[in-house]
Amino acid sequence: MKKKKKNTSENITRKEAIKKIGDYGKYSALTAIGTYLLLHPKTAQARSPANPGDGGGF
């Protein structure tokens, strides 16, 4: 089963989170049953990335 792991913190789209438990061709019922969403919370507390000091703007 191939799938990409997403662990992005912002703007995860429904499409990106949707995963499939295998591909069953003509058994669309299994494909439907096997569709799921995968969500990861942040692994650490964070503030918004865009704060003063970023990118040496001073």
Binding site: Y36, L38, L39, K42, Q45, A46, S48, N51, D54
Partner: protein, 374 residues
């Protein structure tokens, strides 16, 4: 057997895997299979049980179950914790700045080695700055070590982050300030949400949305129109499901200052902090009347979006869509006790999508949500 937490969400099941701290939403049948796998029920028995539930050839069921096992195993892997090297983190003797802040009757001393460190933290708390004090309750030290940012608390090592992870350093310092301010350890917090929290004295509404959608501007507008600013960007909720105030200033983009000037004339003379990387300039607006005794239940989640083409539009959002937007942008305490609290809290809320360009109408809608008039 690992720790799973399973709850119903709409017509599906949400399954939390403790080992990977991941949340997966499945059809109920799959959740039931996962539960059987987790309880150590033999594959043959699960296969028989499945055959009664799904009318397809046995080979396909076998293939399906093999893949469900793979999903189970993949999400049941214990995540490796990032190793933190404590050595070689001696604090420097010279700091570019030492600031003192008075927060909830406590004095915090924060030492910054460089201007970069100062600019990361101080603008958020400048409104709480006091003159230097010989005695203080907490001493934080921020400095560079091997091109990383190091944070000490009362000379104890807290963490070390690469510069590209500066927002995580800020988050960790914010979390420690929160722990100190409320004398409540990290394990007693259900989560910290990337949102703005507005209150009406009785309850709170969380305003959510991607960066740039107008969370902070909406909060400032609501604060100017009689609502309380509870927290901006860093909204802490304890494991009794209470939203608490966080005293950081509201970050306001220069481009929206014109909109806010009638309410906040002080913004005209506020310090502007440019940063080239994001091609924008921000000012910091101190929240009015921060009350550290306030504990508010959450009334609703409002996903907000400023859109000049839309005067006002309010729609309800499904639980699954709301969860999908909320989880990747939140720190949720990864203990089983707190995850259970989080899911219970989340599943009972109301969720809305609010798109607007008319500030007055946006304020009215928020008022209506508070008053159950929608």
């Amino acid at each position: 057997m690992s720790k799973l937490i399973i709850k119903t969400i709409e017509d599906k099941k949400i399954v939390w895997f403790q080992n990977s701290n991941s949340y997966l939403i499945f059809e109920p049948l799959v959740a039931e299979i996962l539960c059987k796998i987790d309880n150590g029920i033999p594959l043959g028995n699960i296969k028989k049980w499945c055959s009664k539930k799904i009318e397809i050839p046995k080979e396909s069921i076998s293939e399906f179950l093999k893949n469900v096992y793979a999903v189970y195993n993949e999400n049941n892997l214990l995540l490796k914790k990032k190793e933190i090297k404590v050595s070689n983190c001696k604090a420097p003797e010279i700091f570019i700045s030492e600031k003192y802040y008075f927060i909830n009757n406590l004095i915090f001393k924060i030492q910054f080695e460089t201007e970069f460190h100062l600019l990361k933290i101080h603008p958020n708390f400048a409104h709480l700055e006091i003159e230097s004090e010989p005695e203080y309750d907490f001493n934080y030290t921020v400095f560079n070590n091997e091109e990383s940012i190091v944070l000490l608390k009362n000379l104890d090592f807290i963490g070390k982050w690469e510069h590209k992870e500066a927002h995580i350093f800020e988050g960790k310092l914010s979390m420690h300030l929160l722990i100190d301010i409320y004398k409540n350890p990290e394990t007693e917090w259900m989560g910290v949400f990337h949102a703005s929290a507005v209150g009406n004295g009785k309850e709170s509404i969380l305003i959510l949305g991607a960066s740039g959608n107008g969370k902070s501007t909406s909060l400032a507008l609501l604060n100017a129109n009689g609502f309380d600013c509870i927290a901006d960007d860093f909204v802490p909720i304890d494991n009794d499901k209470n939203i608490h105030a966080y005293p950081a200033a509201i970050s306001i983009k220069k481009s929206v200052i014109k909109t806010l000037l009638p309410y906040y004339p002080e913004l005209k003379n506020s310090i502007e902090y440019p940063f080239k990387k994001m091609n924008k300039t921000v000012c910091f607006l101190p929240p009015k009347n921060i009350n550290f005794d306030v504990k508010l239940k959450c009334k609703a989640l409002v996903f907000i979006k400023y859109d000049s083409r839309v005067e006002i539009e309010i729609t309800t959002v499904s639980k699954i869509e709301a969860l999908q937007q909320l989880i990747p942008d939140s720190w949720i305490s990864p203990t089983d006790k707190n995850v259970a609290v989080f899911l219970d809290w989340f599943l009972k809320l109301s969720y809305y999508q609010l798109t607007y360009s008319n500030n007055t109408k946006m304020t009215t809608i928020i008022e209506k949500i508070f008053n159950d008039e929608l």
